[in-house]
């Protein structure tokens, strides 16, 4: 009998103890500070890391005792995105997070009481800080549930030292000139272009496809069905960029590390990436940094197009807690304050959807200046393929591209494989 009582008590303790520990862990501290957890990708090797951390520290100092933002490091972009998608779909939304403004993620706007709506605050003057059109791009059905932040402009990077050594005197303006230049670059012992079919979106080659489509189809090219002949022709040109030694041997299956690595190592002459890569090139490959010229892709029916799209927005979890909402809005306004955005931009090279001016005496590196000029000089700016379709379609692009480049599919079959994935 006594043994039975002891056994019963032990079993009850085992059942209740975890509950007690959990409850103690969730007790709010006596401290009145509103703490906002921010899992972010702007950590580690990201060029914005240092300035973002500085701004967070300054915000915390400014609002000591009232608000505090705590960064949670998430250095892997793809893992971060997948983790967030799963969490948000389960209704667990971080206090603050970085939102990918693409067709897949915009589905979260539909969720009731999922994301915080900033429409009212943006309409009350805050929205004037943003580049025209950017707030509208983040607005669906009258709700602006994310705040525009980082922009991606992805012009072409030309290593002029390699071009010069190869006897190429100017940036190619047509695809015939491009492939003629490629032959000279190969003869000089260099790789004409960096390409890739790997990663989650075949980034470099996907951007090339977007540029080629823009040069063939113009500003409204994405209104066309993916099986339109303009995309078949784009695929033919992109395929040629992989063949006959026009890219590295490891391009098929290679990821962004391979593609960027060849450019940083001074082996490939032509590359595509966004302004966030400026800091990386400057620190890791100063010779390549000095030799790089930013320009448009070759043209066809259309010339001077650029690819540009919202890259990252700031977002927050919906809350009924007014104090928490005020904290979030205060932090969002702090991060999007023009002077602060300028600091991140000048430090990292990244470009943003917030307007700011640069005084003549303020140092802006030569690549950043070229980026700004390239965007200003663009005849039109188109979004990329990855902004037009959901992530599974974008993932299929790389697989279809590898199949086409390896000779297992024609350009027509390439576009059809993508079309079959579109729902």
């Amino acid at each position: 009998m006594r043994t039975k009582k002891i056994v019963l008590i032990c079993a009850l303790i085992l059942l209740i103890l975890p509950g007690i520990i959990w409850a103690a862990g969730t007790q709010e501290a006596k401290d009145q500070t509103v703490v906002l957890k921010w899992p972010t990708i702007w950590v580690g090797q990201d060029t914005k890391t240092a300035m973002v951390a500085t701004l967070v520290d300054e915000f915390n100092e400014m609002y000591t005792g009232k608000y505090r933002v705590e960064i949670e490091a998430n250095p892997d972009y793809d893992a971060y995105r997948n983790k967030l998608n799963s969490q948000i779909a389960a209704g667990i939304v971080p206090d603050l997070f970085v939102f990918n403004p693409d067709p897949t993620s915009f589905a979260f706007y539909e969720g009731e009481n999922l994301l915080m709506d900033f429409s009212d605050e943006l309409a009350s003057g805050w929205g004037d800080d943003f580049v025209p059109g950017s707030v509208e791009e983040a607005t669906i059905n009258g709700e602006t549930k994310t705040v525009p932040f980082e922009m991606a402009y992805t012009p072409i990077w030309y290593n002029m030292d390699i071009l010069k050594k190869a006897g190429v005197t100017s940036i190619p303006t047509t695809y015939d000139e491009f492939f003629a230049a490629a032959d000279k670059i190969k003869a000089a012992g260099y790789i004409p272009t960096s390409q890739m079919t790997g990663g989650t979106n075949a980034w470099t080659s996907m951007l090339w496809f977007s540029h080629i489509a823009a040069s063939l189809g113009g500003p409204d090219v994405w209104q066309k069905d993916i099986t339109d002949p303009v995309f078949v022709q784009s695929a033919e040109i992109l395929k040629e960029m992989f063949l006959n030694g026009n890219t590295s041997k490891d391009a098929v299956g290679g990821d962004a590390g391979v593609s960027g690595g060849h450019y940083l190592a001074g082996r490939s002459a032509i590359f595509i990436n966004g302004p966030w890569y400026i800091g990386r090139v400057k620190s890791d490959a100063p010779d390549v940094f000095a030799a790089t010229k930013i320009g448009p892709a070759p043209g066809a029916a259309y010339h001077g197009a650029q690819i540009g799209f919202p890259l990252s927005n700031l977002a927050a979890a919906y809350t009924d807690d007014q104090k928490k909402k005020e904290a979030v809005v205060a932090f969002m306004k702090w991060m999007t304050k023009p002077e602060n955005v300028k600091r991140i931009s000048l430090d990292s090279g990244a470009m943003f959807a917030i307007k700011y001016s640069v005084a003549p005496e303020e140092k802006i590196n030569q690549l950043q200046a070229q980026f700004i000029n390239a965007v200003n000089d663009a005849s039109f700016i188109n979004p990329s393929f990855s902004m037009k379709y959901t992530s599974d379609v974008v993932a299929e692009f790389g697989q279809a591209l590898a199949k086409m480049v390896l000779g297992k599919a024609t350009p027509e079959e390439f576009v059809q494989q993508i079309a079959d994935k579109i729902r």
Binding site: A11, G253, T390, D392, A402
Partner: protein
Amino acid sequence: MHNKNWKQILLFLLPVLVLFTTYFIYPLGFVFVSSFTKWNGIRPMEFIGVKNYLQLLGDGTFRLALRNNIIWALVLGFIQVPLAAGMAMILARKPKGWKTFRTIYFLPNVISQVALAMMWLAIYNAEDGMLNNFLEIIGLSDLTRNWLGNMSTAFPAVLIQQVFYIGYFMIVIFASRMGISESYYEAAEIDGANVLQQEINITIPMLKGILITTMTLALAYGMRHFESTYLMTNGGPAHATSVMGILLYRDLGALNYGEANAIGSTLIIFGGATIAAIRWLFNRNNHTSDSIQ
């Protein structure tokens, strides 16, 4: 005794049962039920019957991934485990330096999969990789290629790098082998049996249980394989190395939860069927040999 103590038994089992039901049975049931819906995690689930499964069956990429998973399971079960068993038997004989070899073989199991995948990416790299450089040095430059970017070589390349990581199974089998009394081997030696005969007639029969267990585990790992393929090729080129785990992961990323859960359910069913078939085969042979005796 059984009737008297059932209450205490139930009481002790209750916490584990609650946790098991909450974190395994319920999610499993949810995955299966939601596999019959169209659901993006935001809108309410829309029941669509077996449409997700029909779509999968009609998808060539899915069939290819399923085939690749079965190959993974069979390679790990019928190549990796026998290699591990062979090495365990050799080490159990305690040749010179056996402790060093035991450590070397187990070392990859304590290194992260990410680090190992990065290492193999460097080995297989078409431009600067160790494998191509080695082939050039020994005069076989004709054999150099983009190992992970070629549809014929990518899948074998990813398979091969995994097969040789026998450390985990080797240690498990080795531990069981050390539990066999040396008197059996001494008696066999006296009877004139050589080392090979001893291993075949004493070790293997006595390790049958652990061999079946390790083989089952290897089959399970193969059916749910994901990590090294994702890290090295992400299922490419052109889906040549795709496995169901990668397709499922991609669908999750695209918020196609109904389809993802259909893949997950299929994985569970096929995995379970494969493992059950193998165990039936071994148990049938076991019963047959028992009846002969």
